[in-house]
């Protein structure tokens, strides 16, 4: 075993393995970001989000620097990820615990309800549909509903208590997001040519994630 992962609970493990997993535990190997859109499908489920509302959340929580196309792509990747989720699939079991664990139930129904609730809140508090609010107004509303999220770390998407955080953390876990933050073409978590590892990563100034 190289570098044994910690005796992690499911939530911790998923933080390590399926999102912007940065290990803080001794012996853990997962210090990687993961692709936001795996392209894989586990089942033929449909998350059935209200895409107009979800797009409006996306424009509020994702960087404007991505541009309209980038934001739409990030929202689309999140939807594809949610569509491909396979409830109670077997989790990776490694070193540190011997019990077999399973992924949680489908988060999409709760996330759909949260989208609807954001719109209701907008109509009651600001007398306008959520999609008609300014970006700043949307952020204020979203901030009020994510106040219960613990800590200052973005949760793994599957552990996010609100769809806005799930969407944001899903984007932030992508290799392109990390490249944008590092201003360099690293493409973490992506299979790449071994020989290129020794060179200084190429700056990406001017590119869009």
């Amino acid at each position: 075993m190289d570098d044994t992962p910690p005796p992690a609970g499911r939530r911790t493990f998923l933080k390590l393995a399926s999102a912007l997993a940065i290990s803080t535990a001794s012996g853990c190997r997962f210090e990687t970001r993961v692709p936001a859109a795996s392209g894989a499908t586990g089942s033929d489920r449909r998350s059935d989000f209200d895409r107009t509302l979800l797009d409006a959340v996306g424009t509020a929580v994702l960087p404007a620097e991505l541009g309209d196309v980038g934001v739409a792509a990030a929202v689309g990747a999140f939807v594809a990820w949610a569509d491909g989720y396979d409830p109670v699939a077997e989790e990776m079991h490694g070193y540190g615990y011997s019990d077999i664990r399973y992924l949680p139930a489908d988060p999409a129904p709760a996330w759909r309800a949260q989208l609807a609730a954001l719109d209701l809140l907008a109509r009651r508090a600001l007398r306008a549909p959520f999609v008609q609010l300014s970006i700043d107004q949307r952020r204020v509303l979203i901030a009020t509903v994510v106040t219960g999220a613990e800590g200052d770390r973005l949760p793994a998407p599957i552990d996010a208590t609100h769809v806005a955080l799930a969407l944001l953390s899903h984007w932030a876990s992508s290799p392109d997001a990390w490249d944008l933050a590092l201003n360099a073409k690293v493409q973490t978590g992506t299979c790449r040519v071994l020989g290129d590892a020794s060179t200084t990563p190429v700056p990406i100034t001017g590119r869009r994630a």
Binding site: M1, A25, S26, A40, G42, Y85, L103, D152, T190, C191
Partner: protein
């Protein structure tokens, strides 16, 4: 009832078993049959998809790689319930350091623990064989720190952009480091790809660059050199009460039929790892062997060994790019090769790039949620600089009562009690633990200072969970009263019974153990071939 006949039967299909089988078929003309309780593993062609789902969702790439009713209890850190073709090594990390010569002479050199019945030099050719069969990429460190008889079979994985800076830092701090030897191909070989830096060595390599035992099994089965029997759980070894020779193994299919199975052979090789090997010997008790087979010494299931670690994150005035090759590292044996001093401490040292402290965050310092460009701006600020992860495994001298026993309540579908483990330090090791951990922490602080950096945090292994890279349970030795198997892995009490790999080791050193488990197994295979 199903009956299987073979000259040699190997129980277990993990990494030690696979490479022993490869050696045996080259060096004997006897038939070899391998018995595996689990199912076939996820084939290489499906691992790209399996990796994608692991990355996206945390799903196991190794579906149903265990038996629901076959598990271990107690302090199981270091244990995995994986039970399929290839065993636990289907999801190992591929890190392949050798032990150091001192590991074989702990009593002679340091007055602690036990000497092994043979030397590092005697194991060297089997280390080399293991490295060549798996395809280990490595570079020899300074000869005084990293002795070996021949060069590594493959050039090292590159010291990448991040590691080159960390290597300069370590040198400045007085620590010699080099590319960690890994069973990952630095050049394509045998139909396997060169490493692609996918950084999911653990738990799944999609390219085949990392060695996994299924590659060996696939080739041996394809060529008709071994018979691999899956979904068959060996539940008992049956010994002749007069001669002690093992006459057969018995068990059941683990599929829905549960069919009874009898395996007749002339040579029995127990290669089921540190948990299931002593477990089967204990289960196989009979009137002539009321404490289990091979247990005249009373040491079956005793002296479970392993190591713990101290892990730290350092903030350094460098500019690293997290994610270039997260799972590759630098290694040092500088602190494994130490002279005898007042108090005993030996440890390895590994150094990685890290992104701890450089991730995006949900809130700013005032607690206000960060969204959009504000989040990205904050992230960019945090992403600058460098975090290094540094870790040292330090060895733990096992107590005799560091044990695996039969659980009183937990049984499988056949009514067999499951193993329960209780790791325990020898008294001298327990007494040294606080001092040892502080010494390592002090080294990390000193290194950070030498690099004009700071320590973000230092963590010790959590107590009482078990130990890492575990070994023992069937320890080897020349004295039948003090050991279960002889220096070649043959049971003192049963001429045709051999135990292979991890369970035979008197100690577990202070580095990753798989290569040594395999080297020991290959040494045992050479003795079986001669026998």
């Amino acid at each position: 009832m199903k009956t299987i006949d073979s000259d040699i039967v190997i129980i277990g299909s993990g990494i030690t078993a696979a490479l022993m089988a490869a050696s045996l078929v080259e060096n004997t003309k006897r038939s070899v049959t391998v018995i595996e309780a689990g199912r076939p593993t996820t084939p290489l062609t499906e691992r790209t998809k399996a990796r994608a789902r692991f990355m996206a969702y945390g799903e196991s790439p190794w579906k149903q790689d265990h038996l629901d009713d076959q598990n271990a209890y107690g302090t199981t850190w270091g244990f995995s319930p994986s039970m399929n073709v290839g065993g636990l090594a289907m999801h190992w990390g591929g890190v392949s350091p050798r032990y150091s010569p001192e590991d074989f002479r702990l009593t002679s050199l340091y007055g602690v623990g036990d000497d092994w019945p043979f030397s590092y030099e005697e194991l060297d050719p089997f280390y080399q064989e293991a490295e060549e069969r798996m395809g280990v990429a490595g570079e020899q460190g300074p000869v005084a720190l990293d002795p070996r008889g021949k060069p590594y079979p493959l050039p090292p994985l590159p010291v990448n952009f991040n590691l080159a800076q960390l290597q300069a830092f370590a040198t400045q701090a007085g620590v010699a480091t080099w590319s960690t030897p890994s069973a990952k191909l630095s050049v394509a070989r045998d139909g396997r790809s060169q490493c692609q830096r996918c950084d999911t060595c653990y738990p799944v390599c999609p390219s085949g660059a990392k060695y996994t035992p299924d590659f060996t099994w696939d080739a041996l089965v394809r060529d008709g050199k071994v018979t691999l029997v899956t979904e068959t759980l060996v539940r008992r070894l049956v010994a002749d009460p007069k001669t002690g020779a093992i006459v057969r193994a018995t068990g059941n299919r683990t599929d829905a039929t549960g069919e009874e199975v009898t395996i007749n052979a002339t040579t029995f090789v127990l290669a089921a790892g540190f948990a299931w090997s002593p477990h089967l010997l204990l289960l196989s008790r009979d009137a002539a062997h009321p404490d289990g087979l091979a247990n005249r010494s009373g040491l079956v299931g005793k002296y479970l060994a392993g190591h713990r670690n101290v892990n730290a994150y350092l903030n350094l005035p460098l500019e690293l790019y997290p994610g270039i090759n997260v799972q590759h590292s630098l290694v040092s044996k500088q602190f494994m090769r130490v002279p005898r001093s007042g108090r005993y401490l030996r440890h390895d040292l590994r150094l990685w790039e890290s992104s701890v402290g450089r991730e995006p965050r949900l809130r700013d310092d005032a607690g206000k949620p960060l969204f959009g460009d504000a989040l990205l701006h904050d992230w960019r600020t945090r992403a600058k600089g460098a975090t290094a992860r540094i870790r040292a495994y330090y060895d733990v001298i096992p107590d005799r009562e560091s044990t695996l026993t039969l659980h009183r309540a937990k049984v499988n579908r056949f009514g067999d009690p499951m193993p329960t483990m209780s790791f325990r330090d020898a008294p001298e090791s327990a007494a040294l633990k606080p001092w040892q951990e502080e010494q390592i922490a002090a080294l990390f602080r000193k290194m950070a200072k030498a690099g004009n950096g700071t320590v973000l945090k230092i963590e010790n292994s959590v107590n009482d969970l078990g130990q890492e890279h575990p070994t023992g349970g069937c320890r080897m030795g020349d004295d039948p009263i003090q050991s279960v198997v002889d220096r070649w892995g043959r049971a003192h009490d049963h001429e045709n019974l051999w135990v292979a790999g991890a369970p035979t080791q008197p100690s577990a050193s202070c580095c990753n153990g798989t290569l040594t488990f395999v080297a020991n197994g290959l040494r045992t295979a050479s003795a079986i071939a001669r026998a």
